[in-house]
């Protein structure tokens, strides 16, 4: 076992096994995470973080496969990919299959892919993704592509760790309308209608365009473009890369890059604090047993949910409250 300093130095020098280890330790938590976060911190804040979101089957992994190769080829850059899949709430196990669609990237010495699972934590998906992206950033990866399955609140939080968000839409599934409800459209900087050779692609593009036109774009603001791709054939992908570069330039000149970085750190910090507090709470067996007693009382109608919550909350003392 090597010290965190030695491990970090080897990772900075590009040793793949050490990079892999750093990402694991940062994701796992505990004292090794704390040491590594201290070492990483001075080197973060440089990479362009790009989120790729969309419903299952929209072609996110396939698009990322294409994007990563282009970024690595055109800039001589080291590209990081963080691919997230949910884990089973029952067993905590997970089947992470994003590498299947990215198999062309294996053995590519400038592309580093890490698969993550949610591990059943509240906000865990977003927290882990953010921490792994921080580590990749500090180790010189730029850009960092972050992929997430689904379009719910957890995925929205992952996208809040990105500077640029590409949202993929799938023709012929009513996705356009679903996504407008879901709130992801608001965080999207680039819309991509993938599988554009399918029926309904053009109609979906038009629908989304009209939805976007109803938004006012202020002077100097970013007007969200709608792009059409066939990611598995590589069609339209160059345009997506080009728009992502334009968006980065816009972020940097408008001051949004710093603003989004700060917002992401704020969310990261909030999640770490919540995580630490909840861990303390649930590791206190006393609290768990009192909660079970209250639950039994509610079930037997001896008390009610509101009264039980007040009684339980009163037991928690936050720092600064005395007690």
């Amino acid at each position: 076992m090597s010290t965190s300093e030695e491990l970090f130095a080897r990772a900075q020098a590009g040793d793949q096994a050490s990079i892999g280890r750093v990402l694991t330790l940062v994701e796992q938590g505990g004292p090794r995470r704390d040491e590594l976060l201290r070492l990483l911190s001075p080197h973060t804040g440089r990479a362009h973080r790009i989120g790729v979101a969309g419903p299952p089957g929209a072609g996110k992994s396939t698009l990322i496969n294409q994007l990563a190769r282009r970024f690595a080829a055109r800039d001589d850059a080291q590209v990081g990919v963080v691919a997230v899949d949910p884990s089973s709430p029952q067993t905590g196990g997970a089947l992470l299959g994003d590498r299947v669609r990215m198999s062309e990237l294996e053995s590519h010495d400038r592309i580093f892919i890490r698969s993550l699972s949610t591990r059943g934590q509240t906000g865990g998906l977003s927290l882990a993704t953010g921490l792994v992206a921080d580590a990749m950033d500090a180790l010189g990866f730029d850009p960092i592509l972050m992929e997430t399955v689904g379009v719910g609140q957890a995925e929205l939080d992952v996208m809040r760790k990105a500077h640029s968000v590409a949202l993929l839409l799938l023709p012929g599934t009513g996705d356009g309308v679903q996504l407008m409800k879901a709130g992801l459209l608001e965080v999207a900087d680039i819309l991509v209608v993938n599988k554009a050779d399918r029926d309904g692609a053009k109609e979906l593009g038009v629908l989304v365009e009209s939805e976007l036109h109803s938004r006012a774009v202020v002077d100097g603001g970013w007007a969200t473009p709608v792009l059409m791709t066939c990611a598995y054939r590589g069609e339209g992908v160059d345009e997506v890369v080009e728009v992502m570069r334009q968006h980065r330039t816009w972020l940097e000149t408008s001051g949004e890059f710093e603003a989004r970085t700060r917002a992401s750190i704020e969310l990261q910090l909030r999640q770490l604090v919540e995580h630490a507090l909840l861990a303390r709470l649930w590791h206190d067996d006393g609290f768990g047993s009192v909660l079970r007693d209250h639950a039994a009382d509610v079930a037997a109608h001896r008390t009610d949910l509101a009264a039980a919550v007040h009684a339980l909350s009163d037991r928690i003392s936050l720092p600064g409250e005395g007690s």
């Binding site: 796992q28 905590g92 699972s117």
Partner: protein
């Protein structure tokens, strides 16, 4: 709070397209609470080792039915050593003659499972492997 989970990469090297065994084992390991990274068909030893290193797995599970086991496993062991990842335990499954199994296990493969091995045996074997200390 440290949250560790056994991470396993399930790989299917070679030219044959029979990945049913690999998928069955991947599902069994997932159901046993492990994080399983599945990489799909037609992987070279270089691809498999590169993915294992990037994913920082504890265990590499290789399904091989093509008869190439006497070249694939030694190559994987060699590459893992070169990449500084010789701590990764290798388990394998497929149609492998007993004599070959013994030879490969002597070379450093942790355990090979023949056809019809119950998945619970594989799960139990992986659970009992000594894992690296954080």
């Amino acid at each position: 709070m440290v949250e560790t989970r056994i991470r396993v990469l399930v790989a299917k090297p070679g030219l044959d397209g029979h990945d049913r065994g690999a998928k069955v084992i991947a599902s069994a390991l997932r159901d046993a609470g492990m994080e399983v990274i599945y990489t799909g068909l037609h992987q070279t030893p270089e691809d498999i080792v590169s993915a294992s290193v990037q994913e920082d797995v504890d265990v590499l599970a290789v399904s091989i039915l093509s008869g190439a086991h006497m070249s694939v496993f030694p190559r994987i062991l060699e590459l893992l050593r070169e990449r500084g990842a010789s701590h990764v335990h290798i388990v394998g499954g497929g149609i492998i003659p007993d004599a070959d199994m013994r030879q490969l296990e002597e070379q450093g493969v942790s355990r090979l499972f023949g056809p019809g091995s119950p998945t619970r045996d594989v799960v139990a074997f992986i659970r009992n492997l000594p894992l690296r200390q954080v």
